[in-house]
Symmetry: C2
Subunit: 426 residues, 2 copies
């Protein structure tokens, strides 16, 4: 289509728009949102540059990037949360995201010695210990096994950990952003273990990373033979470096620290190895000074992502859309309820999109906001019947010493101006 | 974890590895792939840089990018396919992708006047014509409607179009790469039409884009009220500029050209508008000189993505994994068969991952390659019972004049060296 035609079309439409809007009494107050357009809004009566001039051709971006107008949608760090620059965290911008898939560029990352940059040609996966045949695989070897594709959430055990002692961080990116959900492609760990031949006494698997922290975790054989994967792709393309490129372990429904990145070794043994990350870390210190350990599964949880402190209500009274996420390490989400009065009354939310086990679920709740202050909460129930608890219920059982496994109900206070704050109510 | 500990761990392992491999008779020939490791492979006996030194911290990449070792995985253009630089195409690198989700940065793009760069604050969607109330929406208005999340493939009607007259392009990126599949989030078009109120005579909807080509297509009201969406997000984040940011039309299962990008206007009418893109283009010229038109639905189709001309078999004889994609505008894929002898014998492939209507399906077929030349084909059958035809069957009905709607069976010839070529066999 040539420029001439585009210009002619635009001119015709411009004439129409002026007529339409000058006679626009029907428009006032009739919009879905209750927002009437100003007559003769130049944004629609004037031809815009993007309608007038051709844009970039396809060669400009062999690998595409977000719009310049989305530059605020990024992972963010909270510097004071970690003690040094190489052991650090950033957070998924949940408040800006939709659906259940996290784009690869926005998946939070947690690492203990920075991002390893590995040449896959020089990467190997070894399996040793209580096996019939110790084996070493190249990436090409791994890609000859049968593959599978599964959508799973990955949540850090410390997600929402700062909230054990009361509301702290003002934004769901910071309170709940140590989670992401992608489609993994890889090899079922079972196939690799079977290739090596697990000896009768083999009841645990150690997974070890190739980064400078040599991250190591013990995984019970039952889980290893069930649904664990050695994944090499996420959302269709190779893993990102910060997510373990070229391979990572996938441990569906269990805490993120066990999903060892840059995976280089699997050892079969007859007991857990008691590594640092399963003793002094990633255990739950109780009020009596004892620690719960091997609390691997991530329990049922949900959060309202919008409105939330980073995305207040800006449209005033009227039709308001509540959007949020729910998930459970025990399978699918059966139901989500939303409250606007701090948990006194609950309303069934609508779960929309695929409902896949151990994956994020998206829920919505629409209501007419009357402009008064409200206390927004969501409460998820998973297929096993587990109901998301309040924070006080959690504290009654586990005390306030831990930073791990806080799946309590989150409260957002919406004030009369639409501003949103992280609060707790009793 | 400090450097000291990482170094100590690595040193211990290094000792182990040397021992393990020197006594490694058990390794020879025992690998899944049949590939034995050389003893003392320095890649595993020597500490690698990524194990010795910490990598980048989290602040280095607020929006993540692929590994430097994946720089070959990009969209590619075929310059001679389009006549000028602003009306152009590039192709999804299907041969490098896994699962069913296409990462946003790798979704093929086809545009007619370059990529419009639109500031969403200055974008409006108007609805006019045979409606009770003409309306104009801002982006904020649209985000107050109920949302939905759906995974759909988008295929250009001209995908595989160069193959009507015989095999031409050597690589599934070029023969089949005008397709992608993402999770869309947006508003059901039905809600927007209902808000404006469609008059009794309203039986067609015109969708118009805001780019410099002012792309326009007519859509029957029945489809518009069924499953069409006005989408603002793909794979969780805002649409990419080349995919219509800030909004595009989603027309599930139908040809990509109708999924108008940079959507700015919907007009309700009582007949199709006979725009250029539904008359001289996107109609199917038959052998007798007449043209089929309104051939919107994309019929059942499949292609083997690996091995294929861009990814030959490099491992020699033995266990070989065939991976491919299947899809249908009529719903889910019920079955995929694979042949290694050019269609004489068919073997059931394994469909793995979510099976969603009008979305890509991933299939696998594993076999032991004996090193002789083979002719690889795949054949999909959708839930409506439609069986993917051969190219000759298609030509018998439709001739060879068209460039659109070629869903014929693709043949890859694998030679004795593992090299792969695009061929046709009768």
């Amino acid at each position: 289509m040539d420029d001439l035609k585009a210009a002619a079309t635009a001119a015709t439409r411009r004439g129409f728009l002026k007529t339409g809007l000058l006679g626009g009494a029907a428009l006032a107050g009739s919009l879905a949102s209750g927002r009437a357009m100003a007559e003769g809004d130049p944004v629609i009566t004037e031809i815009q540059d993007w309608n007038r001039y051709p844009g970039d051709g396809v060669d400009a971006r062999p690998y595409g990037q977000p719009s310049q107008f989305e530059s605020h949608v990024v992972r963010k760090n909270v510097p004071w949360l970690t003690s040094d620059t190489i052991s650090s965290i950033n957070f998924t911008p949940l408040h800006e995201l939709e659906g259940i898939i996290t784009p690869n560029g926005l998946c939070f990352e947690r690492h203990h010695a920075g991002i390893a940059e590995i040449d896959p040609a020089n990467h190997r996966l070894m399996i040793n210990g209580l096996v019939d045949k110790p084996l070493v695989f190249t990436m090409a070897d791994l890609k000859r096994f049968p593959r599978e594709n599964r959508v799973y959430f990955l949540e850090c055990a410390a997600n929402t950990g700062m909230e054990w002692r009361g509301s702290q961080l003002n934004g769901c990116q910071y309170t709940h952003g140590m989670i992401h959900c992608v489609m993994y492609t890889g090899v079922r760990l079972k196939h690799i273990l079977e290739e090596a031949g697990v000896k009768a006494a083999g009841s645990w698997v150690l997974a070890e990373g190739a980064d400078a922290s040599a991250m190591t975790r013990s995984i019970p054989m039952e889980k290893a033979l069930d649904d664990c994967m050695v994944a090499f792709a996420m959302n269709g393309e190779a893993l990102r470096p910060e997510q373990g490129y070229p391979i990572r372990l996938v441990v569906p429904g269990w805490e993120g620290n066990m999903w060892v990145k840059w995976l280089r070794r699997l050892e079969v043994g007859d007991q857990p190895w008691q590594q640092r990350e399963e003793t002094s870390k990633y255990t739950d210190l109780l009020a009596n000074g004892k620690a719960r350990r091997f609390t691997w599964k991530m329990d049922v949880k949900s959060v309202i992502t919008s409105p939330s402190p980073q995305v207040p209500i800006v449209h005033g009274k009227g039709r308001t859309l509540v959007s949020g996420l729910a998930w459970s390490g025990s399978g699918t989400i059966k139901r989500v309820d939303v409250s606007i009065d701090g948990g006194r009354n609950w309303h069934a939310a609508r779960i929309d999109g695929p409902s896949l086990p151990m994956a994020l679920h998206r829920f919505y709740y629409e209501f007419d906001w009357d402009g008064s202050e409200i206390f927004l909460q969501s409460r998820a129930i998973d297929e096993s019947g587990f109901v998301q608890p309040t924070k006080d219920q959690l504290r009654a059982v586990r005390g306030e010493n831990s930073i791990y496994h806080n799946n309590g109900i989150q409260t957002w206070h919406v004030n009369k101006d639409g501003g949103v704050e992280n609060v707790e109510i009793s």
